[in-house]
Amino acid sequence: MNLAKETMDWLDRRLGVRELMHQNLGGYLLPRNINIWYTMGAVLLAMFVLQFITGILLLIYYVPHTDKAFASVTMIMNEIPYGWLMRYLHVVGSNLIIVFLLAHMLSVLYMGSYKRPRELTWLSGFILFNLGLAFCLTGYLLPWSQLSFWATTVATDAAGAIPVVGDQIIAYLRGGPSVGEATLGRFFALHVMGLPMAFLLLVGFHLFCVRRIGISKPPFGDDYRPTDMPRSFHHDEHPNGVPFHPNYTIKDAAMVFFALALLVAITFFAPWLFIPPDALEPADPFFTPSDIKPEWYFLWAYQTLKIFPSELLGLASQGLAMGFLALLPFFDRGLERRPSNRPLFVTLYLLGILVFVGLSIWGHYS
């Protein structure tokens, strides 16, 4: 008796799993010219799964208390078997996730895949990107290091620039007049419970949108033609396409392997890339380090705050930029997706990347 076959038969009789699997794996056809950038979703899913696993393992020993947090992280790093590995995988993984999120979003932007009817897919993805940043911001405080304490102090301070409600927002974020036990408690709760739940729901919705609407065809090649926006719901099918499984899942697997190789390489050989010296000292509310810098993915925002004459203007410009990106598919309603036919968009796209990189480098050296 083949146990696997028996189990499958049992499930199939009750839930029709074979049909379900065929519909979503072998029978799910993708465009023939689908490229490597489409694997970013699978890579991100794998990385997030790893974050959940390492996060849960870290939770076993981490103590969310200002007197014990730093010591508990030190213990994880030095006394718990493979604790250092779990922590470094978690820290390096969080940074690589931002890299892959950016790569995913930039490829979607370049190929115009955000355009209607995929507005909700883009919007949910954009919110997921922001949730990723929120994960990083809240996770930053948890080790209760000098970097954690002062970065969070300044990040929450920036909210004070908002007129009328600024001070209330600071108090709301910190749970008191300054960063302390209450702040650690609420950031911890957000990091390990609030954000993961929101994240899982939103990932579910994002994947639902991708599957329900269908994968967008890469806008390249001679046979590509823009399609009209359908008057009613239409699943974008690719009748002559390639099966999702195994033809494309094996490519997904290859990219997941390469991404994990990068993660492991940094974890074992250069974890300090993402851990500045101030992150190695316990928080001292009475001593402000002079060289605190935000993580690389916040450097552009940090520099923006500095170059504007007031913090409010800086915050507003960031809010406008992020708001514009979030709602881009609602503004950009043209059907053309081929980059070669969208010179203005491609110019702005490249300029946007240059501004992001330029501000980040400026922020790093300023």
């Binding site: 030190t74 790093m77 030095n78 922590r87 470094y88 922001n130 940043l133 929120a134 002062w150 970065a151 969070t152 102090t153 300044v154 990040a155 301070d157 920036a158 909210a159 908002i162 409600v165 927002i169 709301y172 974020l173 390639v242 195994p246 033809n247 094996i250 490519k251 697997a253 290859a254 392997f257 390469f258 190789a261 492991v264 390489a265 974890t267 074992f268 050989f269 974890p271 300090w272 851990i275 010296p277 190695l280 009475f286 001593f287 402000t288 380090p289 002079s290 605190i292 810098k293 935000p294 993580e295 916040f298 450097l299 925002a301 940090y302 705050l305 500095k306 960031q318 992020m322 708001g323």
Partner: protein, 267 residues
């Protein structure tokens, strides 16, 4: 409820990309006032202190000179413990409030015995506000020949140079271990104690005493080195394992791509 919802929206809109930047705590009134003064009472010591090992270890003006760094009006009053600038011969006691052991050996040394008649005190060799981390390079011909010939200092320097070099190497190793997240607290304490005792020894400027006691310090340092070697071996093994894992993952990726090619041929 509506208020909370509005605040949450505002937060989402404005705060997500906000990073962090350095701020300077503004509680030290000494720097506020003296930093703006010219010369030896102001900009010179302030600028020098900022480059010093004291500044790096958060030893501020009031830690040496007393007073209250939080009160502009009473900062330099006796009631707040202001000590001001010590007399030349009082400098060893002034520094010795923290550097207790070195002070003892200094007073017993020839240097200490002639301080009342203009012999060298702490700042003669170490500077005052610009005091740097002490190294063997402080013993040099230019410095020592301000008062006497370089023969004896050269002998002392030769005697302690191996131990000093070992101390420097171990400090660098500990710093590297610390940088990758190893809890080096006990090693730092161990080395700190050995280094302090050793530097007490050569503040005696007694070549016979230094010769007799240096071997014991070398033995202590060998023990510390053995612990550091163990830790470095462990890190080396981790890197080997990590390298093997990276290769396996790359191999996995390449195999997956090869399998993908077979599907491509069918397509």
């Amino acid at each position: 409820m509506k208020k909370i919802f509005l605040r949450s929206l505002l937060l989402l809109f404005f705060l997500t990309p906000v990073g962090a930047f350095p701020v300077v705590a503004g509680t030290d009134v000494c720097i506020d006032c003296h930093g703006g003064l010219a010369g030896q009472l102001g900009e010179i010591p302030t600028a020098e202190w900022k480059t010093s090992i004291h500044a790096r270890h958060r030893i501020s003006c009031h830690d040496c000179h007393g007073g209250d760094p939080t009160d502009y009006v009473k900062a330099m009053t006796a009631e707040r413990g202001f000590l001001g600038v010590p007399e030349y011969s009082e400098v060893p006691s002034f520094c010795g409030r923290c550097h207790v052991g070195v002070e003892e050996d200094y007073w017993e040394s020839l240097h200490g015995q002639v301080v009342d008649v203009g012999g060298p005190n702490c700042v003669t060799c170490h500077e005052n506000h610009a005091v740097q981390e002490a190294t063997i390079d402080l013993i040099n011909e230019d410095s020592c020949t301000r008062c006497h010939s370089y023969d004896k200092p050269a002998l002392i320097k030769a005697e302690i140079s191996d131990t000093e070099a070992m101390l420097s190497r171990l400090e660098a190793s500990i710093a590297s271990l610390y940088r990758v997240g190893v809890d080096t607290g006990h090693l730092e304490d161990e080395l700190f104690a050995t280094r302090n005792s050793f530097r007490r020894l050569f503040h005696s400027v007694d070549i016979d005493k230094i010769r007799a006691e240096t071997a014991a310090f070398d033995a202590d340092l060998e023990e510390t080195k053995a612990t550091i070697d163990d830790l470095e071996n462990t890190l080396g093994k981790r890197k080997l394992a990590g390298g093997a894992l990276v290769l396996l993952l790359l191999l996995g990726g390449c195999i997956a791509l090869l399998i993908r090619r077979t599907y491509q041929d069918q397509e």
